[in-house]
Symmetry: C2
Subunit: 410 residues, 2 copies
């Protein structure tokens, strides 16, 4: 990413577009979709492990609320969010031990808007946010949009992509640093940060007077160990901004319902004004989302059990592929796998354009899109275990056979 | 608005928030809402003419589609938009004489996102966009968010808020100017730009190599004269970006479904990448919106007839209030009225906190929020005639009596 402060417009064709529109990345998760669609047109079953789109049914309570919608006028809602949804979020948090009153919650149009709002609120153009590579790829899109510079710090695949030592993080903090951005359980690595590690970050943030942005959308997806929320560190109450979304835990990615939460009054006031500019989040999904927040603990337990089983199945099969490696992820429903290839982009595309076994192939997300540092991730890919076990088994078979054929021909 | 390039963070309390979060305006349309709610709690009927929220029922086709939603998983949709909605928009445009293929349309989460995308795509931080005062107040919010500078040019209330002469507009164009932003029929003035005036702007944009952003969400709300779309000026095909929304014409403000359309391939490519970062717009409202795009012409005619009747009623009554004045608006469902008061903010608030007649009062939107130039609009307010005639009559009676009492006591 070049300097977002550059104001000389990029001349594209006969007309002037902005520098940021040139820098804005295409989604590395979605850019192979046209090749997958072409493969499907040729009659090939493509197992989509490229995107975090679960196959788990959306809870019937959500869909029942959609179908019960009966207001005669689909009117603007409150900019902070639908009142029922705000109280439902607050109740949901209380159930998991977090005391977050309604006034510390801003409903957003997906976790996406929560990220964009947070960056916009805390950083000026050119300011820096520390992120850990590999990271959720759209962080970069929102950073470009907000003119913010992501400062990446690499994590080690061999160590399960855990955070680097605190001293290394501290060294990256400059006068322009505004926040450290965490995601636990992590997309794309599945890493779960321990309470000790989170506490270390909280302490560092307090000492260096920066924010901690904590993306906790995979909170319920912990298979080994317990989730720690940034909210638990009251000593950085003013510095913590939690980012959340219903997409994953309620299998409602298309709803675009999320929230931003903070004890910092100025942050919440700014978030509300950003919310007012776009008037409100979509109404119907907000109303429906309010109905799933009180699902019993058994719902989340069953969900985690299902994904734990998928994880165990796929990780085992993946590690049996000659030359492939991943550490067992502790949470979320992704892992970053390393491959014995020089150019993962080429391999992932080839799997869609040139390969099939029994009319089946697999789509995975090439690693470089999850890194800001050029040249990183070229032998890695993110794999989302969002399909049922039987399909994961067939997908890993296709991957194993495809890789063998690719290695022979490249 | 101060220089958006300033990168020194504003120190708020103990922590650093961004300059733009400080500059971000609170909605002038919504900031009186707490006073209205307090009045309602006292048992007073508050006629809400402050916000463009029509009372017209959302078409039953829309609500039927919502209630028929039956996908087992509410999955991510395409980043460009739901395929059915894209083709429906294209058909709708063809029906009104505009040839806009699907690839020239990006679905957005409301017209709001279309505005933010457009500003982000064409302007670097610090670049300038020419707007005509008074303007749709949220243009400023999005400009602050995008770090773009709105360069306001005043229109004349006495002349029905028509655009200033082309020479005056041309004088405002600098090396940083990226676009001229139009809204016709206009929110907040109700002004409708003639084909000649639009053509003049198109010609100026061509000569000066700037974009024209054309907000056409009130297209169907023309009572005197015909709407002209920026799309009709093929000579600026590469320079025209149309902003649209279903909110008003289908009385579906809470749906948050809009679009951005352009023949400029680079613009559409950048819009798609911005769309990819936020993954997709909400699914259910997109599916439902696709069902109303083919409503017969009689729907739009009836809609315009209803609002024309409301306009004639309210404008007549408003102009009969001693000291008040407005020119008859030609379109949309707003007008800016001038009042015999020195501080319209105070008057509008007073109407909610101190006045009622037969337990009724009225909420209108103070003028200054629709101006970037400090000191402007202090004797103006925007009035939205979004209620049925009988209520408009009672609202104007409350306004007349309230104003008389206010003048005696202030």
């Amino acid at each position: 990413m070049s300097d977002p402060n550059v104001t000389t417009p990029a001349k594209i064709g006969a007309l002037l577009l902005s520098e940021r529109s040139r820098l804005m990345p295409a989604s590395p998760i979605r850019k192979l979709v046209p090749f997958a669609e072409a493969a499907r047109k040729r009659g090939i079953t493509v197992y989509g492990l490229n995107i975090g789109q679960p196959d788990i049914p959306t809870p019937p309570e959500f869909l029942a609320a959609v179908r019960a919608f009966s207001a005669p006028v689909l009117a603007y809602g409150h900019s902070q969010g639908h009142a029922e949804l705000l109280t439902a979020f607050s109740r949901y948090y209380r159930n998991i031990g977090l005391d977050i009153p309604v006034e510390q919650i801003q409903i957003t149009t997906g976790g996406s808007e929560a990220i964009l709002f947070a960056l916009t609120i805390i950083a000026n153009p050119g300011d820096e946010i520390i992120v850990f590579e590999p990271y959720y790829t759209n962080y970069m899109g929102f950073a470009v949009e907000a003119g913010v510079k992501l400062v990446p710090l690499a994590t080690d695949p061999g160590q399960g992509y855990g955070l680097p030592p605190l001293e290394k993080i501290e060294q990256k903090i400059t006068g322009r640093t505004r926040a450290i951005l965490l995601c636990s359980p992590n997309n794309p690595t599945g890493t779960l940060l321990s309470r000790e590690v989170m506490g270390g970050i909280a302490d560092l943030a307090r000492r260096k007077n920066v924010f901690v942005l904590s993306d906790e959308v995979y909170r319920e997806f912990c298979y080994t160990g317990k989730h720690t929320s940034i909210w638990e560190f009251e000593e950085i109450a003013e510095r913590a901004i939690m980012l959340d979304s219903i997409s994953k835990r309620y299998s409602a990615c298309g709803a675009r319902v999320g929230c931003l939460a903070s004890r910092n009054k100025q942050v919440m006031d700014a978030a509300l004004r950003l919310g007012q500019a776009r008037l409100c989040s979509p109404t119907i999904e907000q109303i429906a989302a309010a109905r799933v927040m009180d699902l019993p603990q058994s719902y989340y337990t069953a969900l985690a059990d299902e994904y734990r089983g998928r994880r165990d199945t796929i990780v085992d099969l993946f590690n049996k592929i000659p030359g492939c490696f991943c550490r067992k992820p502790l949470g979320a429903f992704y892992f970053m796998g390393t491959f014995p290839v020089a150019d993962i982009e080429d391999f992932c595309r080839w799997m869609l354009t040139d390969f099939s076994y029994e009319n089946q192939t697999v789509m995975i997300a090439p690693g470089p899109g999850f890194y800001a540092t050029p040249g990183m991730g070229k032998n890695e890919a993110r794999i989302a275990y969002v399909l049922e076990k039987e399909k994961l088994i067939r997908a890993m078979r296709a991957l194993r056979l495809g890789l063998a054929e690719y290695q022979q021909t490249h």
